[in-house]
Subunit: 259 residues, 2 copies
Amino acid sequence: MPAQVLGREKKEVTFPDMRFFFLPEAPPTSLGLWTPPVDLMKHLRALRCGDGVEFLLLDLEQNAWLAKTSGRAQIELLGDTQPPSHKLHRIELATAWPKQKRAEELMIRACESGVAVIQPILYERSIFGRDPLSKKQLARLKKLARECCQQLGNVQLPEIRSQPISLAKWLEQSSSSTRICLRPGASALSDLWSGLKTEAIEFLVGPEGGFTDDEIQATDAAKIQAAGLSPNILRIEAAGPMAAGICQNLALSRMRHHP
Amino acid sequence: MPAQVLGREKKEVTFPDMRFFFLPEAPPTSLGLWTPPVDLMKHLRALRCGDGVEFLLLDLEQNAWLAKTSGRAQIELLGDTQPPSHKLHRIELATAWPKQKRAEELMIRACESGVAVIQPILYERSIFGRDPLSKKQLARLKKLARECCQQLGNVQLPEIRSQPISLAKWLEQSSSSTRICLRPGASALSDLWSGLKTEAIEFLVGPEGGFTDDEIQATDAAKIQAAGLSPNILRIEAAGPMAAGICQNLALSRMRHHP
């Protein structure tokens, strides 16, 4: 833990005051010149950052470092710091899986809507996503997520679970979140909002062909509430992120009233 | 007007009971065998529609025809009918323009969120969209919109205005809609909702670099309310459709309470 190595007090930094970049792993030291991954140097050059511009580095375990630009191949680490806080509502998607190009779109939209976890679910009518995501697919989705979150100022990278689970298995898992099944024609999500008892929400998103009658019965038996989003029928990559985006807006509103 | 040619009573058809397809222009007759555009026959084959399957044809002027499949090259027109009604809230986007690939994404998301009109706006910091959309760009966006709306069951094709206008000109135009400027950090859109006085809403979406101080002053002087969407900073193609999607959900809720 770099924090302990240094033993100095952590500075608090608030986004969006300062740009940040994700690192695939922690730097070997917290202080001094360091040659970071090539991607990061490319980014800094693309942004035309001159010498001495400060920014944050974040790893995937909530560690953060302050750094500044220093020449074309290295950066200077200025010590570890508090990871920036975010004001996102905790939202997980348990979702049918679209095919590759549209899975990338799902990832991008999930970053925009501040989704915390994406869990692929297998339904009777699932066409894609029957196998675990390959290493290559996962790496591609993670790279997209890092780039997208950096650009949007979203410090919460969505966690992607590569192993799909069946609806039955998902229903068996205990969860401390409120689970909501997205179903066209059900009451509007914004109507359910004020009655929700937990801060965290998990949305269940069905496959293109819709839930089967058995699947509907199983979610009803598990007392999962249903919510509708729009008069339009949304595709997989649109539905979950739209639900999450609506919640983030309703949560902003709640924060204003009960800060 | 095919309705007058025939002089028979219009049948009422409700979506989503029946599939529909958009036609670039009205068929020459309302009754009998007709060879439609090749695209439509391809669609019907891709959907594996056998003979005798009924569907709707819609032109871009709110006319509708009932038709059924009849062989591989022709369809049978069964007369004109009421265009299906939709339950979308009326939302217009006055938006900065992203570059081509992302303009396509904007179009798709606008269809999903039930946007009625897209008007490109020129800002001081606009990078793309300074020229009118070319015929080719416009045709591409319209084709995407038709395909997307058909798939989502959205009978309201968004109207795209190909000529960008400056923010100043937009502010001068009179409008019967409530105009809302999307600004990061402003009160949540869902907070403004209950106080809105008109059914129709126009969202103003700024460029990637943000509004200039002068632009903020101009929208404030025009007494345009500001609203925020999310703790994340959204890109052009995400912001307007997200705002529209939030409104469609809040409107669903309003309909339930005051049907």
